[in-house]
Symmetry: C2
């Protein structure tokens, strides 16, 4: 089959009977639309229930999708000329981004055509667009970005939020992060009663900033009704630990912790490669150790945990890593699918509605 | 030689001609005084110029030191009954800690008997005692703890501060951290013109908290006179990078980054062990890969970077890791020695004196 004949055969609407539709932004990632389409094909192959609405330049997408048999009959292309780059400022994108693939991707979720959106593009712009078009869930002050973190837990991952939606968070925001993180852990990681920890510099109650001591009390009091258990303060070293499933923090601290963890894992990995390429003997050892090294790589592969999720909006948006390859994109799509199937968005909205809005005197005290 | 005959031979005063005297707290570490004395012996063997004043229960120390030939003639024991534990609150230690080995250790630096102090004990208590007895350098508002971080730089390490002396820092404090960190890099890592970065969630000037934008301007303006170069904002992923030598941040963020990095490195290390013990084949591979794995371990061994230094006091105090073994204690002592030989304390004081105190209107705006 040639590319052109395939593209002519391509149907223009996804069949939605029993299936989940994911809205995918083909543009804005470091590896361009071919990596994104490759990731879609990987997902489609593994999961017959997934269908896509994919956004970007029609001619290019038609060509790329035409090459993938598994995507035939399961993709709708939405033409969008504009591309949001990594350098674009969120405020500009909000004003001028209406023709972009990113805008169009979010729009499909807003209109209810798709259950969730996935984009590899500029995080700040994606959050700004999502806030503008989807709006915050009633009662949510600050939406958050939650990420997965490799851990010693049976599920293999812990959740951390916020990792960069907002550089501030007061005590009531942190309580909402706990509730939203717990809901994500129940639906995304299938944990009945997730254990929540609050990130601090010490594990004792008298330590740390005022808003953390207040949040500690609020989260403790909300645990029973919120269907989670609260383990109290945790430290940076606990992020991969088995004593907690969800780590709550503000977006400044969370973003620094996330990037520090990624940077450290990469450093150790590079040092490992150096060590094994040091001599002929060590190269031979590496050959024999290949299976073991691959097993390690799989456990800490950042592509497996690809997909930061935006929580607190009227719709599910997944931010894939900018440098994601097919495997990374596929992991992000899988996450979008799992959450859509579980009815996560409605459950999250119900959870957030449970929390009484912050009393005025409280929010005054917290900041 | 038996322990008792050795202890009888032990002289009571160190010979200081041409040598550096380090004041060592034998107590308060997780492994007890035997690990500390073993570390002293390791240092003494490598470096004939080091002498010690060691603080703790006399009988036990006499016995432990008596067993080490290399320490004969080079140690003075100062009897101290009390021990500061990891659970003691800094405020209590300040009020009641006068009889403790930690207090006595700091006191030797205050009295000028020793050039630097080393303790494996409770960080908060050590900082509180050091502040109380040594006092802050004139002009310093918030002292800081600086740590070494394994990096891709030729020197093998980067410096980060503050990693936990104070949970707050305003713009002027961050400027002082930059100056003190640069001085530490010049004297401790032998870098003529250290490159300073300010930790933030983005590398663009418009991002991040107000005090960070102000600090960015202050540090940029101080670079030429301060004998350092300023690379601007850096992110968590840059902590081990080769584009910066010193990373400046507040003690809350720094502590979380430090523990996140340590925790991630430990996780990867444990996963690596798991991977290599998975099957007979992988165990055999591990045996062959031993040299390579040891090379890796050496590069990321936290014991090699052992020694957080307190900056901004009238005296040099090194906080060794609580769980430090002989190698870790020896690394901390080596750092104390290097800095003492370079005349670091006087140079640091001169640097800090260079910076004009924060104008009142500035510090008001920063918080």
């Amino acid at each position: 089959m040639t590319a052109s004949s395939a593209s002519q055969d391509l149907p223009r609407a996804p069949k939605t009977g029993g299936s989940v539709v994911i809205s995918v932004d083909a543009m804005g990632g470091d590896r361009g639309p071919s990596a994104v389409v490759a990731g879609m094909a990987e997902s489609a192959e593994k999961n017959p229930e997934i269908r896509f609405i994919v956004h970007g330049p029609e001619a290019e997408l038609t060509r790329l999708i035409g090459r993938r048999k598994t995507l035939a009959d399961r993709c709708e292309i939405r033409h969008a000329e504009g591309v949001v780059t990594m350098e674009d400022k969120p405020s500009q994108v909000v004003r001028k981004g209406a023709g972009s693939s990113m805008w169009s991707t979010v729009e499909s979720v807003r209109l209810g055509e798709a259950q969730a959106a996935v984009s590899c593009g500029n995080t700040g712009a994606l959050m700004a667009l999502s806030m503008l078009r989807l709006r915050k869930l009633p009662g949510v002050n600050r939406p958050a970005i939650a990420c997965l973190w490799p851990s010693r837990n049976p599920q293999g991952f812990n959740i951390m939020l916020d990792v960069g939606a907002d550089i501030r968070a007061d005590a009531h925001d942190l309580l909402q992060y706990a509730q939203m993180g717990a809901s994500y852990a129940r639906n995304g990681l299938d944990l009945a009663t997730p254990r929540i920890g609050l990130l601090n510099v010490g594990t004792e109650e008298h330590k740390g900033r005022t808003e953390l001591r207040q949040a500690d009390e609020l989260i403790r009091a909300a645990a029973a009704d919120g269907n989670f258990s609260y383990v109290g303060f945790v430290e940076g070293g606990d992020l991969p630990s088995a004593r907690v499933d969800v780590i709550v923090t503000d977006g400044f601290t969370g973003n620094i912790a996330l990037k520090t963890g990624e940077g450290t894992a990469k450093l150790v990995g590079d040092f490992l490669k150096d060590a094994f390429s040091n001599s002929i003997m060590s190269k031979f050892a590496a050959l024999l150790a290949m299976t073991s090294l691959k097993r390690l790589q799989k456990r800490i592969d950042p592509r497996r945990v690809n997909g930061g999720i935006f929580l607190g909006l009227n719709g599910t948006v997944i931010k894939s890593h900018g440098s994601a390859d097919a495997t990374g994109v596929s992991a992000a799509i899988k996450l979008a699918f799992t959450l859509s199937k579980s009815g996560f968005q409605d459950r999250l909205a119900a959870r957030v509605a449970q929390i009484a809005p912050a009393p005025t005197e409280d929010s005054g005290a917290a900041r």
